[in-house]
């Protein structure tokens, strides 16, 4: 009986280790969130990060995969800076971020996925593509941002007397505002899904698709990441590896058999 209980325990632990992704760890949200500075190491040609909100050559850096797989938790803050080239793969943070800031004058066009962002800053002359719902998004001089999700508040600020940023949002936008040289330029509300378009500071969305008064939106913006309900019916084109699971099960059985035999001896 004891042996059977032991086997069941071993099998359960082994099954958990197999089923869970490699390197997965328990996620604990830290109060206040941890700030990480993400940058591209041109020497080693890899993405890396350090703890903190700015570049620091003295600080120990780690590979981005460790951040994504282990260290990053819901509520953390990400700052991206430096030369962000090459952008041939999106960065999937996979967590709800308290803050995402892309520092001024970054080169390259970072593509970021997250499960929701509270505050998103796209600084001067930065181009970024953000796949996430955003609560408050801020664009600055000459920045270009595409948001693939819903944005609650989008604020465009320019230090000059003219707005120069460009923005596109595929979801809904509850409030769009612009401030140039400290002076309010415009306040628009309730952009319908997939209509907000600002090109070099000019709102090019058809007037019928938004409101100039802050009336209640007709529909509550939905969160693509956390919505409930069925997915659209699109052919599933992934590849399943059934053999991997069989090999994993075989490993578990042999390991359990070996342990029992050792115990017997």
């Amino acid at each position: 009986m004891k042996a059977i209980k032991k086997i069941i325990s071993i099998l359960a632990i082994a099954a958990l280790m197999v089923i869970l992704p490699t390197g997965h760890s328990m996620v604990v949200s830290a109060a206040g969130g941890t700030t990480f500075y993400v940058f591209y190491d041109n020497t080693e040609k890899v993405w890396r990060y350090i703890y903190g909100n700015h570049a620091d050559e003295e600080a120990e850096s780690y590979t981005l995969s460790q951040l994504i797989n282990t260290d990053l938790k819901d509520g953390d803050l990400i700052v991206m800076g430096g030369d962000l080239l090459p952008i041939d793969n999106p960065i999937v943070f996979g967590k709800h971020l308290q803050n995402l800031t892309i520092m001024p004058y970054c080169t390259g066009s970072p593509i970021v996925y997250a499960n929701g962002i509270d505050e998103c800053y796209v600084c001067n002359n930065v181009t970024a593509i953000v796949h996430s719902d955003v609560t408050n998004a801020y664009l600055y001089d000459g920045s270009v941002a595409n948001f693939d999700g819903n944005v609650q508040n989008l604020t465009i600020t320019d230090s000059s007397s003219e707005i120069t940023a460009t923005a596109n949002v595929t979801g809904t936008v509850a409030h769009l505002s612009a401030v140039a040289d400290g002076h309010p330029e415009w306040d628009y509300y309730n952009f319908k899904a997939n209509t907000l378009s600002v090109k070099n500071g000019e709102v090019t969305t058809a007037v019928a698709n938004y409101s100039t008064t802050p009336s209640a939106p007709e529909t509550t913006p939905k969160n693509p990441s956390n919505g409930s309900g069925e997915y659209d019916d699109v052919p599933k084109t992934g590849e399943r590896s059934v053999s991997v699971w069989f090999f994993a099960a075989a490993t578990i059985c042999f390991a359990a058999s070996f342990l029992l035999r050792r115990k017997e001896k």
Binding site: Y113, D148, N168, G227, T237
Partner: protein, 312 residues
């Protein structure tokens, strides 16, 4: 107790052997299916495709991005691309009189469809897609009654995990819809659309920017216009869904799709489009998010060959 433990040990060892054998069998089966699939597709590919370009009607276009080709055929093709005008047979595509065509008659033997035999083998085949310099050289199946029928079946209808490339049921070759969406498996072996994700690299994208689609009536050439990561959303999500765009009846509908794919694109391909243009969208699974997809959209730039209708 010792006996019981011994029995359990043996059972576990036996179970391990069974699982190992099963895993091996599935792996072998997978490899055999890969081989069978590739052999089957190889047998469908024509031996030489140079003949079609040698006898093709020369372009009369002078570099314009719009459709090129013989004037009569171009005008008929444009007419046939409108769904409101009903079906168009291949006979309508062929220029009716030489005085309408800009190409002298002696230079314009209409090309022979290199995949004619394949269309005859399987009536579910809608087109053949080819991306020069890549492994993408496959038939495209269309089964409106069951969109996923060929997703895990070979061209011969037998079960095969590689499946075939499938044309979305809401897309149509004849009459041609604004956007043809083709789905294919992202195979680890690189087969089917397993190499599609290489387009994330802009240099790869510019080296393989041309896509050919051989439909029963003509050979269409496309140029990659946008490359992006996306996903399948929930039915209630109000976001841009690339997989929902098939037909643009108004300029607003066209611009909506065009602006979104350009905004999402990983890099600027330098290719633009305007209302009236046609697209082909290649879609495969991507593992960057749950229900992730990797998408390559290309714009039709010209029709290079016009094919004779199949003999009855």
């Amino acid at each position: 107790m010792d006996n019981k433990r011994r029995i359990i040990t043996q059972i576990l060892a036996l179970a391990g052997i069974v699982f190992l054998l099963a895993g091996g069998i599935f792996l072998l089966r997978s490899r055999l299916q890969d081989r069978d699939s590739e052999e089957a597709f190889d047998s469908l590919r024509p031996v030489s495709q140079e003949s079609s370009s040698e006898t093709a009607i020369p372009d009369c276009d002078g570099g314009d991005e719009s459709l090129s080709g013989a004037v009569a055929s171009e005008s008929v093709v444009r007419e046939s691309s409108s769904p409101e005008q009903g079906e168009t047979t291949s006979a309508d595509i062929v220029p009716e009189s030489s005085e309408e065509a800009e190409i002298p008659a002696e230079e314009s033997p209409v090309a022979q469809n290199p995949y004619l035999a394949d269309y005859a083998l399987n009536a579910d085949m809608a087109a053949w897609i080819q991306v020069p310099g890549t492994v993408i050289d496959y038939p495209v199946m269309w089964t409106p009654r069951d969109e996923n029928y060929y997703l895990n079946r070979g061209f011969d209808g037998k079960e095969n995990k590689n499946g075939c490339l499938i044309l979305d049921t809401d897309s149509c070759v004849n009459p041609l819809t604004t956007n043809l969406i083709i789905h294919g498996h992202n195979m680890k072996s690189g087969a089917m659309f397993g190499s599609l994700t290489k387009y994330a690299d802009s240099s790869y994208g510019s080296e393989h920017k041309t896509i050919y689609l051989y439909t029963p009536d003509c050979k269409r050439e496309y140029e990659v216009i946008a490359v992006f990561y996306s996903q399948v959303y929930r039915k209630t999500d109000q976001v841009f869904k690339y997989y929902k765009f098939f037909q643009a009846d108004t300029e607003e509908q066209f611009t909506d799709f065009y602006d979104n794919i350009k905004a999402l694109s990983l890099y600027d391909t330098g290719v633009t489009a305007s209302f009236g243009d046609h697209f082909i969208t290649l879609s495969t699974c991507s593992y960057h998010v749950e229900q992730g997809r990797f998408v390559v959209v290309a714009k039709e730039t010209k029709i290079t060959d016009i094919y004779l209708p199949a003999a009855e």
